[in-house]
Amino acid sequence: MPYRIEVGLKPGLFDARGERSKKQILRAFPALDKNIAVRCIDVYTVDGEDLDNAWISDAFCDPVIQDIALNAPFTREFAWYIEVGYKPGVTDNVGRSASYALHLITSRHYPVYSGRAYLLSGNLSRDQAEKIAADCLANSLIQDVRVLGPHEILGVRPHIPVVSLNHVPAVHEVSLDLDDQGLIKLSREKTLALNLEEMKTIASFIADPEVRRIRAQMGLGEKLTDVELESLAQTWSEHCKHKIFNAEIDYQENGKRERISSLFKTYIQGATRDIRASAGEKDICVSVFTDNAGVIRFTDDHHLVFKVETHNSPSALDPYGGALTGIVGVNRDPFGTGIGAKLIFNTDVFCFADPAYAKALPPKILHPVRIFEGVREGVEHGGNKSGIPTVNGCIVFDDRYLGKPLVYCGTAGIMPVQVAGVPSHIKDIRPGDLIVMSGGRIGKDGIHGATFSSEEFHEESPTSAVQIGDPITQKKLTDFLLRARDLGLYRAITDNGAGGLSSSVGEMSQLSGGCLIELDKPPLKYPGLDPWEILLSEAQERMTLAIAPENIDAFLDLSAQMDVESTVIGSFTDSGYFQCTYERKTVAYLPLEFLHNGVPRMHLFAGWEPKIEPDPLTPVPEDQNAKLLEMLSRLNICSKEYVVRQYDHEVQGGSIIKPLVGRYADGPSDAAVVRPILGLSKGVVVSNGIVPRYSDIDTYHMTACALDEALRNYVCVGGDPDHWACLDNFCWCDPVRSERNPDGEHKLAQLVRANKALYDYAVAFSCPLISGKDSMKNDYIGPGIKISIPPTILISVIGTIPEVKKALTMDFKSAGHLVYLLGATRHELGGSEYFASCGIIGSSVPKVDAETARARYRNLHKAICGSLVASAHDLSDGGLAVALAESAFSGNLGVEIDLKEVACEPGMNDTEVLYSESQSRILVSVSPERAQEFDSIFAGDARRIGRVIPEQRLIIRSLDNGRLIDRDLASLKRSWKAPLDF
């Protein structure tokens, strides 16, 4: 008889979780009676017998604050009891810990399933309770819900979501002897995400008599096995092969034609190649584009490793699990680079629709506030529980992210230049090395993630693509593997992400020249998985290693001691083949060459028609004070403190510039600085740039502005502009023209232009691209509706600051300091937040002048190193007016500004000077004693526009010397903090 255990707070104690749930419910259902009450209790089901009650109490109950009920209702004082538990096979971290606790006590294994019950009181109907459960408390994709009344709770059966597949694993052959339609149908039905040409390439491969002859020798038939077809589909997926970035593209612009052979090679790799060549000995790149993350120099003894990824599609289905998996997943990229890096910080950037979205939602789309809260919490748990500080990020709002939210997660690591006598950034695998899988077990989680994310999101999107990360299993794994690394116990490491083993072993096998995977060896969460599922499962927290046979015993011993499961699942070979066996029979035998290089190259068309139409007249607000308050309350400008505070940004003890800064530690930091090696005065700087609004005008300038934003954020905190590198993360809407996607050529042209800008500006700024990622199908297709995201690029910059004590924050420091604006203000309001606030897009998108910007950034760095600068803040969304307000209220000091002193284009009016988003501008304050020295560095590029004052007011004089804005800081700050004060 299983035990049903309920644990709740003792009477009289404040139920904080219940109160928070109530707040969430009332936010989702504003019409509900405010007097409802919500109580939260934990529910566990232990599948087993003969447990001592004292053991159960020791494991599950804190006797100081909690009461426990065993096989009886905890209470019957409620109107509705909403129990939420996981569906079979969904990762249940709490259940896993509970089972572990019982194991510590009894040395026996008891499966435990966790759940949570929300006890609702008040005037609520069953319908209302069920709606609350569905819209607020549970995600029916991964969770089961029961809504029970006070008498229904009596004799309620325990919820035991055990997986019983009742399936005898088998390998099936798949016939590709089909006509075109049949091939397309097969691809769609099996979520292969392969196009007709790719399907035909595979069909002709298997039809080749020579191929058949070799297969016959291995005991394989004349058809491909499902193991082989699925391996090919995932290896050839857009997600893994970046087919669009490697396609041959015919690009047409203003009647001019151009053929581009691979965007990636031409522009991204090309930029880095050219920058490295001209840098010569000053080249900071160590390993670029070849591994899971980019590697640059830090000191003589250490390298920095950095990677940013997206996890958009899973986050659309299950925001919590998707985002959690996103962050712990990207952790494994620097961790799986070379022979492994210690992780030093995370950065996160999210793109959501308005959390107050009030229109009807298309099918299968979750409300933006659920996406927001789920993603926020997923990243909170993933980052905080892993002990990696979340030091920087931002949130962008646009209702076109309703169909797919963007969840960018990034992680940096640090690795010694050499470990146990070998260079740490190189993977070395030899034939005969054993393939070992360490960490979690394999289940059906995330099967087809790689191919699923290579399609648009639609009503029938597979739900098996959802995984939930487990940061503690991963923490144990990383603790163990760093120790094994330092002992020299393995030769190479890589992570299991998209495509699972087929991808990790498939890629590693290129280094030795082949592999043999025994698919009956990997440990499974439950029986009944087919061999192809074992190969493709994206179950989390797993690393794949190459281990020399002489080290295997020591490796496995240490693994067992540190409570990590490691299994030998095969060996690397030099056969030239990707071979898998199951029960000693060969079930896959594919030439590596075909697997990795057999995918036919796409040939695509792109056409660009520039919009040439002047901006509309800039609307002038009647009340500039009120307009500024409104601007500060815009979602893209307002405070994100609610999210930032819930992320641990100081663990590891090296935090220098935090995400929240200023007098009351609530100002918006431009970038972060950390000291990854305590005791060393050299720091690491990280920043981000993202401006998707400008894509509505021209993705060329959008990309230039994103890079410039990241770089100017970086220099504002003191980052060295001669030791920087960046990552590009493209999130696009489908750029391949088809019947369902008639404007594909335009979207591809947008992609081409973005790449051209990336090349032009990375080279101009001498900022090498070291790694990146693309996610190309961020569209939603529902009945009669298609939602495409605006083309979005995130640029993440990493670099160094030579002396952390020189680092700088954005808040004004002292009354009497002089305020300078670096850079020119032009009539560039196209795509601006100001225009957006007036319902206008316009066309005057900001353009970056890289040459003057780079000189400015170097001068600023020189001034910062000379301790001449008191504060520096970048101008971005909302331009000068917003930057002034932020620096003022963050420093708790007023400012008086004269717009006449701003270096601006002739003909601009006050409003345009206030809200123009011209790039490369920085607001700086300088103590009067340092002004002369400061001026001499900038030689005219720095214009003194006002001074910091002791009064708590923002005062801006107009171009004709009138009082344009005069407002107290408290009200400015209140407006800025109000929107996301959840």
Partner: protein
């Protein structure tokens, strides 16, 4: 002079071990970071150390409540070589007159295993529950130090400024009697305080709603100290959240005093 040896336990979700060890070393101790599995297999012995550090983190994910599974581990898991429990080893360590510092998750482990307030040793009488906000929060707090407390870690201090980073830090007692005893024995070493360093119940200065604004307690001997704020995270002046506003940068982070006091105390007894 004898070398002070600090042991920093890590593993299974602990994550502040490096900065804790750094603070111990900077304070003059020889510090080892040791995975708990090395203690359980007998290769590391508490008997070889003077200063036991239980750092912050999320042991076992805090999945059954903060440090709940850790309290089970201390009580039930046995050391392979000796067959004794970790709890028994720690008791011996305490009986030898040595000192223990538990920060955040380490503090939670100390109260949940009954090592704090430690009268009687092993009985859980206080706990750390969900913050009233039900949120994990990272923010800096002012702390008033009770100069009358027996705590050896806070000697010479009357205030300290440190970060908290937790979701379960609300100090609660099982009874008024326990709270009375904590008050009478001056065990409430640290209290969340307002701008003028007076104890406060007001959020966010008191970030979690702790009773009596208690942020950290010691045992009656003053040698076992647990606190929610992170002294090891203020190991350098640039950790201060507004250090760029300070006219003069102090020489070191305020949190270092806790570790220096620990080493100083041990120097006097070994």
């Amino acid at each position: 002079m004898a070398q002070i040896k600090a042991l920093v336990i890590t593993g299974f979700g602990t994550n502040c071990e490096m900065e804790m060890s750094y603070a111990c070393s900077r304070a003059g101790a020889l510090s080892d970071v040791v995975h708990i599995s090395d203690v359980l297999n007998g290769s590391t012995r508490l008997a070889d150390y003077h200063f036991l550090n239980l750092p912050g983190g999320f042991l076992d994910g805090d999945d059954l409540g903060s440090a709940q599974v850790e309290s089970v581990r201390l009580k039930y898991a046995r050391i392979q070589t000796s067959g004794r429990t970790l709890f028994e080893e720690i008791r011996d360590f305490i009986d030898r007159g040595m000192i223990i510092l538990g920060v955040c998750n380490g503090f939670q482990a100390l109260v949940k295993s009954g090592l704090l307030p430690g009268n009687p040793v092993g009985k859980r009488r206080v706990s750390l529950s969900f913050n009233d906000s039900a949120k994990f929060e990272d923010r800096w707090v002012r702390l008033a130090v009770d100069p009358q407390s027996p705590c050896i870690f806070t000697r010479g201090l009357d205030r300290i400024f440190l970060p908290v980073r937790h979701g379960e830090g609300k100090f609660v007692c099982d009874s008024d009697a326990t709270l009375g005893e904590i008050r009478n024995s001056r065990l409430a070493v640290l209290k969340y305080a307002d701008d003028s360093y007076m104890p406060t119940m007001d959020y966010p200065a008191n970030p979690n709603g702790s009773i009596d604004a208690i942020a950290g307690i010691c045992d009656p001997s003053g040698r076992i100290f647990g606190l929610m704020p992170h002294p090891e995270a203020f190991n350098h002046p640039t950790n201060h959240p507004a250090w760029t506003r300070l006219k003069e940068l102090p020489e070191k982070g305020e949190g270092m005093v806790i570790f220096e006091n620990a080493v100083e105390f041990l120097k006097g007894i070994i």
